[in-house]
């Protein structure tokens, strides 16, 4: 699909999604979850799919986004908008540091270091009552005033959907750019990339920092739409749920991560059938999809489309010509 057509199609689908969830408060709740998961999955997708770097601190980055908003709302409500750059900066510096200290080690070390950090942040949120409110979290989070306009819940959700579209589109652009090529090349041949002059370690650190910024936005959306934050929204379980999404949807495009988020929410929260044994069913479902279509849902769909088109083309060739 051409870049312009992909942008138009995904924009239309995003607007359609927004109109669909407008109809009830319950659907809006689910829609918010889709936005939050999609942003987290996109944050994970960027370093994972482009650079091959697996970071597992996404619960921590989301928590930074949510809690910085909550703390600003409690302590300095007039400066609430300032929470956005502050939280993003904290996350990016953290992610860059974690990437920097493990830059010469294997991907396994990065995964372990980031996971430990994520667990530590959750423990800290639970136990530092004075700052984070401990187990009960922080409530009464205010809505920011954007240039004199106070967005209501529906507008906030609309902004969230647009944010997902913007970021997925931006990552799709990055993939094909020179930096994207350098990222994907160093994942497969560090030797070739370095010999060409690509600063491979710096590139990986940059991708990790950018991914953490996107996950931070997820936490902010959650805090602003719900008006409260709880530490148990940011356990390590969140990371493993989100880890499925880009893989399930397909790693070839960032839209796979978004589709993965949508499927997870639809199956684990939307349908009664999956309510009870949801986690197990979902795990088996993912396994099934990956066995049938190793490239994920979108990858499988693309392969199917190609085969159908080839089939039609072959069918059009007159019998005698074969």
């Amino acid at each position: 699909m051409s870049a312009a057509r992909e942008r138009a199609t995904t924009l239309a689908l995003s607007v359609g999604f927004l109109l669909y969830i407008e109809s009830s408060a319950y659907l809006q709740d689910l829609g918010t979850l889709v936005i939050v998961y999609a942003l987290l999955a996109l944050g994970m997708y960027l370093p994972l799919a482009l650079c091959g770097s697996l970071s597992l601190a996404y619960n921590a980055y989301a928590a930074i986004g949510a809690y910085v908003v909550a703390i600003f709302s409690r302590s300095a409500p007039d400066l609430l908008m300032l929470a956005v750059p502050v939280a993003i900066l904290i996350s990016m510096v953290t992610a860059a540091l974690l990437g920097f200290v493990t830059r010469r080690l294997s991907g396994f070390h990065l995964a372990v270091a980031t996971m430990m950090f994520g667990i530590a942040v959750h423990t800290w949120l639970l136990n530092t009552d004075a700052v984070t409110g401990g187990a009960t979290g922080i409530g009464d989070i205010q809505t920011p005033v954007v240039f004199g306009w106070t967005p209501d819940r529906s507008s906030l959700i609309g902004l969230g959907v647009m944010l997902v579209w913007l970021i997925a589109t931006a990552i799709a652009g990055l993939r094909g750019s020179l930096v994207g090529i350098a990222m994907r090349a160093q994942r497969e041949s560090e030797l070739a990339a370095a010999a060409s002059g690509v600063p491979t370690a710096a590139l990986r650190i940059l991708a990790l920092a950018a991914g953490s910024a996107i996950a931070t936005l997820a936490g902010m959306v959650l805090a602003l739409v719900n008006h409260f934050v709880l530490p148990d929204s940011f356990t390590i379980k969140l990371v493993f749920l989100v880890l499925f999404m880009p893989v399930l949807g397909g790693l070839a495009t960032p839209w796979g991560a978004v589709l993965g988020a949508l499927v997870v929410v639809a199956f684990t929260f939307g349908f009664d059938f999956f309510q009870g044994p949801g986690g197990l069913t979902f795990g088996l479902l993912t396994l099934g999809v990956l066995l049938v279509a190793p490239a994920g849902l979108l990858g499988g769909l693309a392969a199917l489309g190609l085969r159908l088109r080839r089939g039609f083309a072959a069918a059009r060739v007159p019998k005698g010509a074969r």
């Binding site: 652009g173 990055l174 020179l178 930096v179 090349a185 497969e188 030797l191 060409s196 940059l206």
Partner: protein, 251 residues
């Protein structure tokens, strides 16, 4: 003008001497051929210059400046190379693999990196397609949308060379660039190297094919047991007793 100068390079692998004080110089606009039997240490020497390997003692200078630092910084100092076993990103297309040379050249500093990152996110910056296409066509490469993992070894050598050319190097090092390449490809490489030489690029060329090497090189050196045993103009080498006995005689 001297582009590359190596002085007294020594290297041992686990107590075994591989290079025992190698010194030579390559001028700008010169093709310098390096030959020697299997295991003589040719690739090791190239790896040391490129930064893929460390060396024990000795100095490497490029354009009069000591060449130190990691592989990427040496590339930005003007060095490009290909590998004896072609190194490409198998899952990327030929076009993307060639464009990697442009990417590397344009992503030197952290500032360039961040700017390139933001530009890539804001719009689908069309990767300077013409440059990539021209570099490929010059080397008789076509159908650039193929995965690098799906093409022949010979084609990968051409991809590597095209990638290296896009770095606009001051010194290019080629490790057996002709092996596995078809006749069209060999002709294209020879043409490309002559154009590079005319442009003032220094070329260090390893190959076992003495006929090709002597036809192409300006000067050459024969490496044996980690030492340069014969060096000089091609004519001088071909007239040399030792060179004839060790190398030409052996082929």
């Amino acid at each position: 003008m001297t582009a590359l100068r190596c002085t007294d390079i020594r290297k041992a692998y686990g107590g075994v001497d591989v290079l025992q004080g190698v010194g030579f110089a390559v001028s700008a606009g010169e093709i310098f051929g390096l030959c020697g039997a299997n295991g003589a240490g040719k690739t090791t020497l190239m790896d040391i210059i490129g930064g893929q390997q460390t060396h024990d003692t000795g100095v490497i200078e490029l354009d009069g400046r000591t060449l130190v630092g990691d592989v990427a910084s040496r590339a930005h100092a003007g060095l490009a190379r290909t590998f004896q076993r072609p190194q490409v990103a198998a899952d990327l297309t030929l076009r993307e693999n060639i464009a990697l040379g442009l990417a590397g050249a344009r992503l030197g500093s952290v500032g360039q990196l961040v700017r390139g990152f933001v530009a890539g996110m804001l719009a689908r910056t069309t990767v300077a397609i013409e440059l990539v296409e021209t570099a490929a066509t010059d080397l008789s490469l076509d159908r650039l949308d193929r995965r690098a993992g799906d093409v022949t070894f010979g084609e990968l050598r051409l991809v590597e060379l095209a990638r290296a050319l896009l770095q606009r190097p001051r010194l290019i090092m080629l490790d057996e660039p002709f092996s596995g390449v078809g006749d069209n490809g060999i002709e294209a490489i020879v043409e490309a190297l002559r154009r590079l030489r005319a442009r003032g690029c220094a070329i260090l060329l390893i190959d076992h094919n003495v006929d090709l090497l002597t036809a192409l090189a300006d000067r050459m050196a024969l490496l044996a047991q980690g030492e340069i045993v014969v060096t000089g103009t091609v004519a001088a080498c071909l007239a040399d007793e030792v060179f004839r006995r060790i190398y030409v005689g052996a082929v």
